[in-house]
């Protein structure tokens, strides 16, 4: 009886030891250092990419703002040109033909603002 109880205890202890050993081995304690290095590298890379992404977003935002400013200036210039063209429309239309050039030129007695010479 005594030996039977002893064997049961022994078997129970052996089972506990076996599962403890299994659990220890399953955690791969020898691989912990390498895995951490890769994760750290990935983390560093992720941080770099996030930083670069923020930089790119900043540059894009700046360029977009510049583009908007240039677009606004361009639209203003186009509007001014259209206004100027509208003011000169009768003359511009007439100037498409050589015969209309004479209508834009007349001899005057005013002092000239500039002089045309042989080019």
């Amino acid at each position: 009886m005594t030996s039977h109880t002893g064997r049961l205890y022994s078997l129970a202890i052996a089972l506990v030891v076996f599962f403890l050993a299994w659990a220890v081995i399953a955690t791969h304690p020898w691989a912990t250092a390498g895995k951490d290095a890769r994760l750290q590298a990935l983390a560093v890379r992720e941080a770099q990419l996030r930083k670069e992404a923020k930089l790119v977003q900043t540059v894009v935002a700046q360029r977009w703002a510049n583009y908007q400013l240039q677009l606004k200036a361009r639209k203003t210039a186009i509007a001014a040109t259209k206004t100027s063209s509208a003011q000169n429309a009768p003359i511009s239309t007439a100037s498409s033909g050589a015969s209309s050039a004479s209508s834009q030129v007349k001899v005057v007695t005013l002092p000239p603002l500039t002089v045309t010479k042989t080019s």
């Binding site: 100027s84 000169n88 004479s102 030129v105 000239p112 045309t116 080019s119």
Partner: protein, 291 residues
Amino acid sequence: MVRRRFHAMGTEIELLVDAASVEGALDAAEQEFHRLETLLSRFREDSELSRLNREGSLEAGPDLRRVVELALAARARSGGRFDPTVHDALVAAGYDRSFELVPSESDTYPGLSMELDMDVHVQDSMDIHVEPDRIRLAPGVRIDLGGIGKGYAAERAAEILATAGPCLVNAGGDVATRGGAWPVGVETSGDLLTLELSGSSGLATSGRDRRRWRRDGRELHHLIDPRTGAPAETNLLRVTVAASDAIEAEVAAKSLFLAGAEHAAAEADAAGLPAVLVTDDGRTVHAGGVA
């Protein structure tokens, strides 16, 4: 009235704007002249035009393509009196460097043959091909865009200045205006006639009273007759023409200059182009509606 003068394209440029606070527009117009000079000058080794003349084919930018197209259209319109392929004839006549550096007869300089080579004739066939992104020259063809290039630059600058107000651009005789009324002096035989240009128009003067030199006892000038490949022999000293823009005026002035006094007035009348002709015997003839 704001005025600015500067030197570009081998001549004096004058910008006038009838508005205040136009420094930005004036700066942009001046920069446009310098930019176009770097593209269109045959005296700059690195210009697009020099590269085209050297290599015979070039992936050219929009400005060079446009000016070449304008020159080809002008050649067709003028019946060949205006021709951009006079480059070699100009060089043979001695105009092979920026005009300030071309010596007069009294000057001597090494490296230039003193023998006149007037056998260089200009081309008259399909010698220039402008493709969507490339210009091709036939073998041996080289082009000069001096006059029409200045007209083009004057028009471009006027477009820029027009955003600021009525303006006038005078590129060494090639005048472009936008808006307003502009009294412009025209040299006659010993006097000055004032023509008023209005709206969007152009005025140009061509002649042999400037840009001339002597070689081997002969007086030469920069206006080549494409039919002979030599400086034009005409009884006209100077021709001033008004037209719808500076480019058309430049082409018409050269064309009438080559026509000679006998035909130029009739041609200007027929075309309705206001013109002032000065003959080499001192007469001044008004044509094309100039009273």
